[in-house]
């Protein structure tokens, strides 16, 4: 694999202010991302996993500056996105695109498919009408849809086909980076497999880099080269997919993996069911944010926040007592 870094994130922090002083609880600051650092190599797929509220979607949106981060830097091909003006950012946006979870919510129901896919081409001045029409045909072929469908409306398609349209839009401008936020979560299993295969195939053909956000570890294993596990706005473990999923070093990663219901009745077992639920990100625990649910917590875990550090092979882990 090509080991050039395409994206480098340092100390990314994002706070949301929620509530109002007139509400019970008053104004609160939710720290959705707390000093998150990682990098993405060109041509790879980085899987981003975690439970709801862990900040994975916020992170995806911050990477494209759809949210303004509060602190930290995002280096994309050497440009610091956090310091650029909207205007300076615009040409770069063509190079980073997003695929959303719910294709019916992200496609305008009143516009034809051809129109929807052509929009980014027009916005970024791709060329005249013939050039755009030729590109549309090519894109439909790439995502496995018949060119006749260009004149239809989104509601005439099934969920899987709509996701193909969403993907066609994202790859229209030949980006190098695609952030895919739960792109297959809303799809049925038999369709999900088609879209996962399509994304893998497009990656090879178009030399794409993916940041693939998902909550399903099995999907992540299928598509990601490396995986980053998040908990309550922090990165707890990041490394080669097979290493992290089969020899997890962070207790949270281990708990997450053991909670996955395997489609194999032979694996029924007394699993280490994690007790309780993630605490509110408005009042994160001190020290290691996982210490309140961690089976291996020690006094130091409540006092001191562990930093990501190299551990046993191709991965980093943020834990005072990683699993050997």
């Amino acid at each position: 694999m090509n080991a050039t870094t395409i994206l480098e994130v340092q100390g990314l922090t994002k706070n949301f202010r929620v509530g109002s002083r007139f509400q019970p609880g008053g104004r609160q600051v939710v720290q959705a991302l707390s000093k998150v650092s990682f990098h993405v190599f060109a041509g790879e797929t980085l899987g981003l996993v975690g439970e709801s509220g862990c900040g994975k979607s916020t992170l995806g949106r911050c990477l494209l500056r759809l949210y303004e981060p509060d602190a930290g830097s995002i280096l994309f091909k050497g440009h610091d996105l956090t310091r650029m003006s909207e205007k300076a950012l615009r040409p770069l946006r063509a190079d980073m695109q997003m695929v959303f979870q719910d294709p019916s919510a992200s496609l305008n129901p009143r516009r034809r498919v051809g129109d929807l896919i052509a929009e980014p081409l027009r916005v970024h001045g791709f060329g005249d009408r013939q050039k755009i029409a030729a590109r549309l045909e090519e894109l439909m072929g790439l995502v496995g849809l018949a060119p006749e469908f260009l004149t239809r409306f989104p509601h005439e398609f099934s969920g899987g086909q709509r996701q193909r349209i969403g993907i066609a839009r994202a790859i229209a401008l030949s980006p190098s980076l695609i952030i895919a936020d739960e792109p297959v979560s809303a799809l049925d299993v038999s369709i999900q497999a088609q879209i996962v295969n399509l994304l893998a195939d497009l990656q090879k053909r178009l030399d794409l880099t993916y940041v693939f956000i998902a909550h399903d570890l099995s999907v992540i294993r299928q598509i990601a080269d490396r995986v980053a596990v998040m908990y309550l706005g922090t990165m707890v473990e990041i490394g080669e997919t097979e290493t992290v999923l089969h020899r997890p070093a962070h207790p949270y990663t281990a708990a997450l993996i053991s909670a996955v219901p395997e489609p194999d009745p032979g694996t029924r077992r007394g699993r280490t069911v994690l007790q309780g639920e993630p605490p509110s990100p408005a009042r994160p625990p001190s020290g290691c944010r996982f210490h309140t649910r961690c089976p291996a917590a020690q006094p130091i875990c409540a006092a001191e926040r562990p930093v990501l550090r190299q551990f046993a092979g191709a991965r980093e882990v943020a834990c005072h007592f990683p699993i050997e």
Partner: protein, 320 residues
């Protein structure tokens, strides 16, 4: 005699474009203390089947035909008043989204008490105590405090526990769970599945579990019925079906699931195409257009036949 015996259930809707058949002749039985899972993709008719057992399909354009025997009595023929006594009493249901199934304007304790008092003649104080006991039994920390809370003050996992507590408040013989863990995170899902298994062990309840997740089926169900486009494609013991699926759809479905363990495949063996829309279902086998084993006989609809401890609706069962 099975606790629940559904025979040739058919559900269709009158629409402007004619009658649309959603469920087409589904038969299954749930034995005492058994967990039967109906698994299928969206639009397969699994949730409608569950609603029909509760007689909750109230659309005036819906036609529900067939027979549903509960403890030997055909509940489709029951008068409404008798059905109301049954519903929430001997048959209880939990839904995918507890936020919409609970009312936002009463405390969860009050909602459980209401259900108990609707079915049992006991003093209100006793009903309150029972509600708190149930919340505790569902693994809710400080149940007395939780009973005084409103649904929006509880997390998704806690709300689902409240729903289960409410469903169990009248000791139902049959619990119908429609995608009970789909909206939950995986660690919380594991807790709720453990809870379902514990309930069966402690109370001997039968469970009809509706889900789309083969992982959930594998972990909790004794038997499984795989639905496709309104019919049962295959039914049998869970271990059996996962070890040796016989219907091409079941085979395709199991192959298409990405796995956390075992060898990693270069590409997932996906099933080509998509399930048919209800009004465009083929006259023959509904899966035939997507099936790699299709033969001329598939132009006709295959019956669900018993073959070696298993029911399969396929002309080529055993050959594929």
């Amino acid at each position: 005699m099975p606790l629940l015996d559904v025979q040739d259930l058919r559900i269709s809707f009158r629409t402007a474009r004619g009658i649309v058949r959603i469920v087409e002749g589904v038969s299954f039985a749930v034995a005492q203390g058994e967990i039967l899972s109906i698994v299928g993709e969206s639009g397969s008719g699994k949730s409608l089947t569950a609603l029909a057992v509760m007689r909750l399909i109230t659309d005036p354009n819906a036609l529900v035909e067939g027979r549903i025997f509960f403890k030997g009595e055909d509940i489709l023929a029951l008068p409404d008043s008798a059905m109301r006594r049954l519903r929430g009493g001997a048959i209880a249901m939990i839904f995918q989204d507890p936020m919409t199934a609970l009312t936002p304007v009463y405390t969860v304790g009050a909602q459980i008490v209401e259900q108990i008092l609707a079915h049992q003649k006991i003093p209100k104080a006793a009903a309150k105590a029972r509600a708190v006991d149930l919340l505790g039994a569902m693994g809710i920390p400080s149940p007395l405090d939780a009973a005084r809370r409103f649904p929006h003050q509880l997390s998704g996992g806690m709300r689902q526990r409240v729903m289960i507590a409410m469903a169990l408040s009248c000791d139902p013989a049959l619990l119908i769970a429609d995608e009970p863990t789909t909206a939950l995170d995986v660690t919380v899902q594991a807790q709720i599945l453990e809870l379902l298994l514990k309930l069966r062990a402690d109370f001997g309840s039968s469970v009809l579990l509706i889900t789309h997740d083969m992982g959930v089926v594998a972990q909790v169900a004794d038997r499984v019925a795989v639905m496709y486009a309104g019919t049962i494609a295959e039914a049998g013991a869970t271990a059996d079906i996962f070890a040796r699926p016989m219907h091409p759809y079941t085979i395709g479905l199991l192959n298409a699931i990405p796995r956390l363990h075992g060898p990693k495949l270069a590409a997932l063996p996906a099933i080509p195409g998509a399930p048919p829309a209800p009004q465009e279902k083929p006259a023959g086998c509904a899966f035939a257009p997507r099936c790699t084993f299709q033969i001329a006989a598939c132009e006709a609809r295959p019956a669900l036949l018993q073959t070696s401890g298993r029911q399969v609706a396929c002309f080529r069962a055993g050959a594929v």
